[in-house]
Each structure stands twice: as C-alpha cells, then as structure tokens.
Symmetry: D2
Subunit: 270 residues, 4 copies
C-alpha cells in the first residue's frame, strides 16, 4: 500500500542548493536561454532548435493581447472590478479560454492532422484531401476552425507567421495543407475566408511536432501578460463595480509608432 503511493516526475529535480530543469542546472540556464526556450524545455523536455525558438517567440508575441473585447479580458476585468487580487482576476480570465475562445487552435490542429492522415491513408494529394475535408465539413454543417475572423479580412498575424516560417525553413506539410484548405473553402463557398491566427498557429505547431493537448497551453501562456495589463488597468483607471460595456471602448494609448531604432534583432536574417 505504501509503495503504491510513491511516484515519479520527469520535470525538475530538487537537491540542496541545486535545481535541475529537465537535467539542466537552472542557474546555468539563467542568462543563457530566453523564457521562451525555458517554456519549450519545461513542456517538451528538450531545448528547442534555434528556428523553433524564434518561431515560438513570434507565436507567443502574436497572442499576447487582442484588445479589450475578448471574453477572457472581460472576465478578468469584471473580477478585478470587484476587488479581486491579481491571481484571482487572471484565473477568471483563464477559465474563459475554452472551445470558442483560444480553443480554435486545438480544433484546427485536429482538422489539419485529419487532412494529413487522409492524404496519407487514401494516397490522395494534399489538394484532394483538402477538397474532401471541406466537402465533408459542409455536408455535416461544421464550421472549419482556423478560417475567417470577426474583425480582420486578412489576419496580419497569420500572414506574418507563415512568412517567418518560410524564411526559417520550418514550414512543412501542415502549412501546405492549411493553405489547400483555404483554397478549397473559397472554391466551394465562393467566399474568401482567410486563415486566421488560430489556423496559422495550429499549422505551425503541427509542423513543429507539438502534441495537440499542449496547443491550448501556448495560447493561455501567451495571453496571461495581456490579462495582467487589463486587470491592472481596470483597477487603476476605472471605478470599482462599473458596468463594463464590451463594445463602447476607445484606444487612448501611445500613438502608432514604428520599431525603428528600438528594434532588437533577435534574428538578423529575417
């Protein structure tokens, strides 16, 4: 019975004066790797290849914030406005990241993997597999996750992610099939529903070899700093218990500006 309750973890080893994350001394990692590399190491068990790290940074930067109307932001602000401590406001926000918000990455990864498996199993071309996948979705009345956006006609984040993936040489079969799905969708519906940020992230995480259950983790990790900024702004700029209209807000932050000399090249070839 006692034996039964001992267990093992493969993440971090703690000894007196020594902490090893996936085998590496954490004080040796500090100053040598970025937080993004540590995120990959914690979750995947190995350090990422340099291009993977660069692309993950881009994916995380893309997802930091999307303004004040996403439900995770509204839940975090609502909690903050009642006097919740920061961690509780964050938790309320994280609890609002589900199937319909953030979760599209997971569903989009499933769609992409299915189309890839179909191409493999049925010896179809990627184009055929995409055409059949869209047909099937339309027959069963399913919306294809990862395409179209409420606000954007061309999602600038999706475009930039694919551009970076090409330059870094990590765009693979998943990117190809995702583009084929976009084309098939346009041909069959006559409407241009472009790949959105969720679809682009799903394609890249697939090509980078991420397991599906970790896809939501990326979005959650990326969005926390945004939730923090909103919760703190709510507490410092607004009165408690105000009624938050999710649409009636304007932007009054720094005016449009360029990176210019602030640019810190992490990858000078891009």
């Amino acid at each position: 019975m006692n034996q039964d309750r001992s267990w093992a973890t493969a993440i971090t080893e703690i000894k007196k004066n020594e902490i090893r994350l996936r085998g590496y001394r954490i004080d040796a990692l500090m100053g040598q790797i970025t937080f993004t590399q540590a995120i990959y190491l914690a979750m995947m068990g190995e350090l990422p290849a340099p291009e993977t790290a660069t692309l993950l940074d881009a994916i995380l930067v893309a997802s930091v914030d999307h303004g004040a109307s996403p439900p995770s932001v509204l839940a975090a602000r609502t909690a903050a406005g009642t006097g919740a401590p920061l961690n509780a406001a964050i938790a309320a926000g994280v609890l609002s990241i589900n199937r319909h918000h953030g979760g599209a990455i997971e569903n989009s990864m499933k769609l992409i993997k299915n189309a890839l498996e179909r191409a493999h199993d049925e010896s179809e071309t990627v184009t055929q597999a995409a055409t059949e996948t869209v047909k099937e979705a339309r027959r069963t009345g399913q919306r294809l996750p990862g395409f179209g956006h409420r606000v954007h006609r061309t999602d600038p984040r999706a475009r930039r992610l694919f551009e970076l993936a090409e330059k870094l040489g990590v765009a693979g079969k998943a990117v190809i099939v995702t583009r084929a799905l976009e084309s098939a969708l346009e041909q069959q519906t006559g409407r241009h529903l472009p790949i959105n940020v969720d679809g682009a992230i799903a394609a890249l995480l697939t090509d980078l070899g991420f397991p599906i259950p970790l896809s939501n983790a990326f979005f959650i990790i990326a969005r926390i700093p945004g939730l923090v900024a909103h919760a703190v702004e709510e507490t410092t700029r607004e009165r408690p218990m105000r009624r938050i209209d999710p649409t009636r807000h304007t932007y009054d932050g720094p005016p449009a500006r360029d990176l210019g000399k602030n640019a810190i090249d992490t990858d000078p070839d891009i």
Copy 2:
C-alpha cells in the same frame, strides 16, 4: 448616462487588418522581439532596454518550476487528476499563488522600498537603515520576507541573479540594501539566512523600476509553463484520483547534463 459608460484602454488598438500593442503593429513586433520583451511592453507600455530584457529572461527562467511539491503544482495536479481541462488545472494552480507562496516577492519589495525610504528620510546610511529595519522586524516578531529557504542553504538562483545584474550594470540601491539586510540579519540573529530567489527578484524588480503590484504577475507568468508540464504529466503518467503524497516523489527525468553546444547565447558577454 450613455456617455458615462464609454471607456478607454491604453493597451491594444484593434482596427480592420491592424493590431497595435502599445502603438506598435503586432506583426512588426513578431520576429523582432522575444516573448519576454512583449511581456514587458504589454505590462509597462514601452519596450525594455536590452539589459532589462536579459535580466527579465533570467528572472522568468529562474521561476519556471521548482519541482512537484509547491502548493500551486499540487493544486494543479489535484484538479488534473479529477479530469479537469488544462485551463481549469492552471486556474487551480494560480489560485494557490498567494501571500505564502510566490507572494514573498511583493512583501520583499515592500521591505526593500521601506528600508530605502528610511535611509533617504532619516539620512541614514544604507547599513544603518538595514540594521534598524531588522531590529524593528525582530521587535514586532515579523519574519523578513526574501531570506532563507526550506531546502537550499545558498539559493543558486539568487546568487546567479545578482551576478547577472552586476555584469549587466543594472544592480542598484535595492541590491545594496538587500545585501545589507542579509548582513544585519546575520549579525543580530547569529544565523545565516541567505537572500532567496524571492528576495533577489524583489531587489532586481525594484532596481528595474517595477511597481509593486506587478511583482506577483511576474511569478505567475513564469510559473504557468511549469504548471502546464505538471498537469500534463499527471494526466499522462498517473491514474485519475490517485492520492498525491506531496513528499513521496522521486525524479526520473533526463540525467544531469550541461548546456554544452546547446547553449544559445543571448548575451555573449555574460
């Protein structure tokens, strides 16, 4: 009444096909800045100086995980073991980051700021201010947050953070007063209670000019990837509803290893 309910946000501006975080186009930031720089930008409104970014990376890497026994990990694993989706397990973990776990950074920042103000207001030397601060804490029976550790005699993360701060030239008054507090504590108690990771992070965030309410945010952001790794490990390696003994675990991950050629120098001078 209607006017009343319009409001403003200074974080992100959303227009059709254009997303600007603190004034910068998000697709221009992608590929040019790291996630850590984006975290700073989202929370502080400006891009960090290069040394600040390097030090923040080190702070975040230091805090990613500390094994399987911290309460935030146990809460996340407990929730995951009942079948909770990943975001709910993360939320349960985040709700366990409070005054006694993670929160020491905030209290340590207050202590450091008080000692610095005391030195300024009373025209005391930093040493005098530290001596008086420790005396007062001992008289009122308060534990000094940021000193001593259950497991480590010398916290390797604290040592490394101060080393990096010195090399990067960002160690300032807060680092000095924190070291003076450590000395005063040893002189008055006869025991060596070294600066721990919380105390070191508090000193550096103070020298970097962070407001106190954001201190907890850093720890929470840093620890999420660790919580994710533990929740996923719980789900994939353990049976549901097992009774988790917080002490009876061993490490069976990758053996001790060095960065070696894997090292990715983000700052070649360090």
Copy 3:
C-alpha cells in the same frame, strides 16, 4: 446592430424596491420557503412539490462532505494554506469537481436514461435492458458509473435515499432500472458492486425529471459548505504551507452522537 445586443433573462426581475425570482417577490418567499426550495425555483423555474423538496434536502445533505481526502477538499485546503481568500479556496475546490469526482452523477444519469430508452425502443423489459446494457459495457471495457465505492461496501447514503424515495412515493422507473443494473452487474461479474451515492442521486434526479446538465450543479452546490468548513479549518488549525498528506489524517471532532431531541422533523411521517 444595437437591437442585436439587447437580450432577455427569465430568472429574476429587478425593479425599484421589488425583486422577483421566477415571478415571486423575494421578500414574500423569505420566511415561507427553504433554501432548498429556492435552489429548485432558481434552477427549474417553479417551486418543487413537497416530496421533491424533501428528497432534494436529503440529496443535498448526503453530499455536504465526505471527509478530508476527496480532491476538491485537498485543492481547497492547498489554496487556503497559501493564504488564499475564502472565495479563491472554494473556486480551487470547485475546479476539482469533474468527470472522476462528482461527475459520476452525470454519467450515471446518462447510463440510466440509455437503459430506459432501450427498454422503450426495443420493447424490452427493464431486466432485459439492464442485462444488455451491462453486457455492452463489459464488451467495450467500460466501468459502469454509480456502482461500487472505494471505502464503503454498502453506501449508507444510497440505501437511505432509496428508502426515502419509496416512502415519499417518488421512486419511479429510474430507481427500478438502477436496481436492475446492480443485479445484472452481480450476475455477470459474480461480484457485488452496490449502487453508490452517485448512482442513487442519478436515479432520483432522473425520476424527479431533472435535465442532465443540472446534475453536476447539485453536487457542487451541496459540497460548497463542506469546502468552506475545510478551508476555514485549514486556516485556523494548521500552519501555512504545510505539506498535506491526503491519507495521514484522523478525526478528532465531536464523538458519535444521535439526533435524539435535536431532531427537527421536517417530515414527521418518515
């Protein structure tokens, strides 16, 4: 666009000096109905029949607490031990009520409804439907939710719930099929896996006409007072950040006692 965003709720009407829950003035309900009746009214839209209210009270009382080892209690205590405010500790507990803990009621209701539908659609007797349901579950390797218990051989709560339902005259088809499932299970496996509290509650909620999605709500509502008692006990009796062994606890509360003259008969016929 504006019209689009107006919406309606059928739960509570608020006017100046007047609050109506499902049409009833709340101050008229106060002193006239119990909390349990108000729970039913809020969730189902009508006041319950007297027998329904009595049985719901018994279901809720049965589920208030089951000692210190369920995961919801451990998560709430873990959060409380880090200094979490009461609502955060409760939230951490509630997030640990899922498929494997509490959620058996929902799955058991589905099982019972399926068996009932089978009997109806295939014109089978309840006994045949139960036999076939168990066969199918065994063929596909599924555990039947609502039968067997880690600790109890005969779950005293299940036995009492069925006794009360019989006396109150509300035991119907769902109780019959649940008993048939218990028998079929014993015949086919040779083991006695008695109906547990989840199975009994599932049978009664089905006979009372509750929709499946509300079944989890009952368990969550019932368990909150238990979570509160444990979180407060953790804060007042234990030191912060202790490592909570889920098995190493003993009971030191009031000794075994009978209701005796304390009994407050809410239903003198039972």
Copy 4:
C-alpha cells in the same frame, strides 16, 4: 518527521459503511434535517436552534439571485459563453465575489462589532456609539458598508429580514446598533441611506453569533444556484461568444405571481 505530517480534522469521520458529520450519522440526518441545517452543522459544528435555521433560510433565499447585472453573474455568463463547463463558469463567478460585491457583509459585520465594542468599552449608549462611529467614518472619508443601494430606495430584503428576526425573537444588540447607525447617518448627512441587504444580513449574523470569516461563505453559498441558473441560461438561450451588455437586458420569465396555495409553510407562525 513522519509524526509531524499526521493531522486531524473535526468535520467528518469516514469509516467503512459509516459517515459521521460532526458526530451525526449522515444517513440519520438525511430526511430529518434541511440542507440549511446541514450547512450550519458543517460550518459551526452543531445543529442550529429552530429559529436560527428559519432565519438562515431567509438569509439564503434573500441572496439567491439579484438579476443579470451583478459582476459574479456576468463573469459566469462570460465564461459559459466561451464553452466553459459548469464548474468553471461557477468558479469564474465565485472569483468575482470580493470586497465590492458580496464582501460588504464582512465589512458591515466589522463596523457593527466595532460600534458594539465601543458602546461597551466607553460605556456609551448605543445611540452615542453609533453617532461617534458615523462621525469618525465621515472624518476619514469612509463609506459605511451596509447602507444604501444603487437600485432600491428601501431594500425589501432588509425590511423583511428584520421583520422575521423580530418575530422569531432573535433580533439583538446588533440589530439595534445597525438601526442606530442608519439614524445617525441620516441626521449627519441629511440623506436617507437605508440599511441594505448586506447590512441586514451582517446584523443578523452578528446576533446569531457567527464569526466574521464565515460571513462571506453565506453569500457565496447562497449565490451559487443563481450563478448556475444564469450559466445554464446563457448556454441554452444565447449564441457563444456574444458580447454581453450588462445593462441592455429585459425580463421575460414568468409574470408576477403570488405564493398562494403554493406556499409551503415552514414556520406557520410567521
């Protein structure tokens, strides 16, 4: 070290086939006590006196719901609209019950206890103590918690709670001092800020001998069924991800109706 980690709980004893809540067999309690009595038993360790139970029922019924605009409801609906499971939506709601929403009960209890202690310590009359308490609050610019309401001029729940407490003979010093505070407030400000539901509950919980930390628990427990009703309504009536305007809603539930013959007298003398 081992001894160190064993611990005790005074809430529930679990033996094979026997569950005792605070000493009472739970199957003996079922059918004999209401959920409200079990809530009191779990939290306070003893069964409540009959008048206490009746008054607690009234307090809980009063707090079940207050329409669709309180922040806890909006947070729960926001989470539910993203596809959150019921427990996560409830948790998001519970995390929005804090100082400014629900928490007024706790602060109001502190105010009432302070005024009572002042009367005792300074040998002042209750009227004098109330006058001085209000003066002090006004001097330091503090709002008195428990008085005034955004919507109601006379809070029908407060009026009814005091009426019930008088009839049941449990209104004591706390009710008297709360009324004295209301008078002192009107005399000193010239405005009528009537006792609201939070103030009335605070007065009654004080007279019933509840410790302050449990006050929030009552509100949280009472409000969960309301949160459940709203989360389910959001999921069943509204489309996912809609933008929830907290003011633009109307009521379309059952029309105004009286208890009439539906009334279930739990206390025929009232």
